[in-house]
């Protein structure tokens, strides 16, 4: 579904992502793991067109590397930005509505909001609260809910566990697995390698801008190199 070939990103003279190639099949959850500064977030930003890149990115057979950032979501790719990126001074409900900005089927949007509330009962309780006053975990749920409101074909998740309490991290990953189980294609970027590998079918390991390992997540969990470098065993 998503095919990335020879993707290259440079910030000035610094090569953040060096010609990486990977793909995500329909219905699959693929994790991209690696340490801080390995180039994971940059890769995601390049796919969602927030930074310029060279190489080739195809989505559903269509080349998407040339289009503008706001067009990406119309192609069916929804990004959940790093650090959550909810609209802090809008209410939970308004945030969800904003997620459906590209749609104009009012009745369907209202139905989808109810579906999000069913997914995340916490958000329903706080519907009228300003998003900026939610806890970190609730904001992450809201960010995922907002992304789903565009009815995407694929979800890009940037570090959903960042800055959250361990118990919240578990909850968020439960949500991610539920969304995946409902048939969503997911590209998951994560520093928490163990959780990411447990929640995905396949994974790529990134190091200094390059993909150094890839395979079935279950195998990588037992790979000695991965264990030593990322699982702290």
């Amino acid at each position: 579904m998503l095919e990335v070939t020879g993707l290259h990103v440079a910030y000035g003279g610094i090569q953040a992502v060096r010609s990486i190639t990977f793909h995500v099949n329909e219905g699959e959850t693929v994790a991209l793991i690696g340490a801080n500064g390995a180039g994971k977030t940059t890769t995601l930003k390049a796919i969602s067109r927030m930074v310029g890149a060279t190489g080739d990115v195809h989505f559903c057979g269509e080349k998407i590397l040339g289009i503008s950032p706001h067009e990406i979501i119309r192609k069916g790719i929804a990004l959940v930005p790093e650090g959550r990126g909810v609209f802090p001074r809008l209410s939970v409900l308004e945030n969800l509505r904003m997620g459906a900005f590209i749609r104009d089927d009012k009745a369907e949007i209202e139905a989808d909001i109810e579906r999000m509330y069913a997914y995340f009962p916490r958000l329903k309780e706080r519907a009228d609260q300003l998003a900026g006053t939610l806890s970190g975990g609730e904001q992450q749920m809201l960010a995922i809910g907002r992304a789903l409101m565009s009815r995407p074909k694929m979800l890009l998740l940037d570090e959903p566990s960042m800055g959250l309490a361990p118990i919240m991290v578990q909850k968020i990953f439960e949500v991610v697995r539920n969304v995946a189980a409902a048939g969503m294609t997911i590209l998951l970027i994560e520093q928490n390698a163990k959780l990411a590998l447990e929640s995905s079918q396949r994974a790529y390991v990134m190091e200094s801008g390059q993909i150094t390992l890839n395979g079935e997540s279950a195998d990588l969990l037992h790979d000695p190199k991965v264990k030593a470098a990322y699982l702290g065993e």
């Binding site: 930005p81 609209f87 001074r89 997620g99 900005f101 590209i102 300003l130 992304a147």
Partner: protein
């Protein structure tokens, strides 16, 4: 806004209408000067509402807003005065002024798309000064703006044979020039307010809101941030341009002096003091900040005379001192503005409560 349109509040609308009609006559009893001040208050309502689109809705800090007012004013001055011997009619000049101001809005907007906050403020401040200095110096080699002397004998607003200067009899009432302008301004103000309210609740209004909150997230939900920001600059600028045109016609004279940095700051103060992003608040801010300095002008001298028997402090300095103090006090005790939107007062209210714990 819904309550206003509610049939039950027809009475409210009627009361406001009666008050708006009676106002210039009541104020006129105290002298025509006060009617002129009233007219300026409405002009500032235009300006504040225009700037509110840029600052309040889209969250882009603009310190050069008065430049668009200048563009509108000079457009009118050049197209309807003996300076070039041109005398275009109202229905032609006002749109031309608005379109030109809009063009300048985009001109300012496009290079600043990637800037935010302080950086944007500095660039817009520079832009405002550039426009003013241009007006000041475009008198040689070809005399376009007549430089610091400004342009005089500008045509008033005229519809056919009906001119907005001088006294005329309408429906048995004697209306002075300022009173006639008042009614024109109120009519335009209502139009501007309706456009603003509609904008705020439109799809574009929501896009502005999103950009103000978080630009990356706004892009991620599919908002074309570049176009939507340019639109904010363009719309805000056109309101400024229209206000400028009326200003030139009303005064009969324009010079670069009227478009200094302090004017930009005053308009911004109106927006912030009234309640950023909240239309009724912005209107209140504009009216108050126009009247307060004028009222102080008249009050400062008699009060000093009564208290001390002589004038101790120069009235002009004291007036600005009190005015500044009033601004500081409002910002200290009503940080969200005098009449903020419910969401904003809730948000700032929460912070105050947390701080007190």
């Amino acid at each position: 806004m819904k309550n206003w349109l509610n049939p039950r509040s027809t009475v409210g609308i009627a009361l406001i209408a009666v008050a708006l009609i009676a106002l210039p006559f009541v104020v006129g009893a105290a002298g025509q000067a006060w009617v002129r001040i009233l007219n300026f208050a409405i002009l500032y309502v235009f300006l504040a509402l225009g700037l509110n689109i840029v600052v309040g809705f889209a969250g882009l800090l603009d310190l050069g807003y008065i430049a668009f007012y200048a563009v509108g004013a000079y457009t009118w001055a050049l197209l309807a005065s003996p300076h070039f011997g041109l005398h275009f009619p109202v229905w032609a000049i006002l749109p031309i002024g608005a379109v030109l101001a809009c063009f300048f809005g985009v001109l300012l907007g496009s290079p600043t798309l990637k800037l935010r906050g302080d950086y944007l403020a500095i660039v817009t401040l520079g832009f405002g000064e550039i426009v003013r200095i241009f007006m000041n110096n475009l008198n040689s080699p070809v005399n376009i703006t007549n430089g610091p002397q400004g342009i005089t004998l500008i045509d008033p607003v005229r519809f056919g044979d009906f001119s907005f200067t001088g006294t005329s009899q309408i429906l048995g009432l004697t209306l002075g020039g300022p009173q006639k302008y008042y009614f024109l301004l109120v009519a335009l103000a209502i139009l501007v307010i309706v456009i603003n309210v509609r904008l705020q609740h439109s799809r574009i209004g929501r896009a502005w809101q999103a950009i103000r909150e978080d630009e990356i997230a706004a892009k991620a939900v599919g908002i074309n941030t570049r176009n939507v920001k340019l639109l904010a600059f363009a719309m805000g600028a056109s309101f400024g341009g229209i206000a400028g045109g009326i200003f030139a016609a009303m005064q009969g004279f324009v010079s670069p002096e009227s478009f200094s940095l302090i004017e930009s700051i005053m308009v911004l103060a109106m927006v912030v003091l009234g309640g950023m992003g909240h239309i009724p608040g912005v209107i209140l801010g504009a009216v108050l900040l126009t009247f307060l300095p004028e009222a102080l002008r008249y009050a400062v001298t008699p009060v000093q005379m009564a208290l001390f028997g002589k004038i101790l402090i120069d009235p002009e300095s004291l007036r600005m001192l009190i005015f500044g103090l009033a601004l500081v006090l409002v910002m200290r005790f009503k940080p969200a503005g005098l009449w903020p939107s419910p969401e904003r007062s809730r948000e700032l209210g929460d912070k105050v409560a947390e701080g007190a714990k």
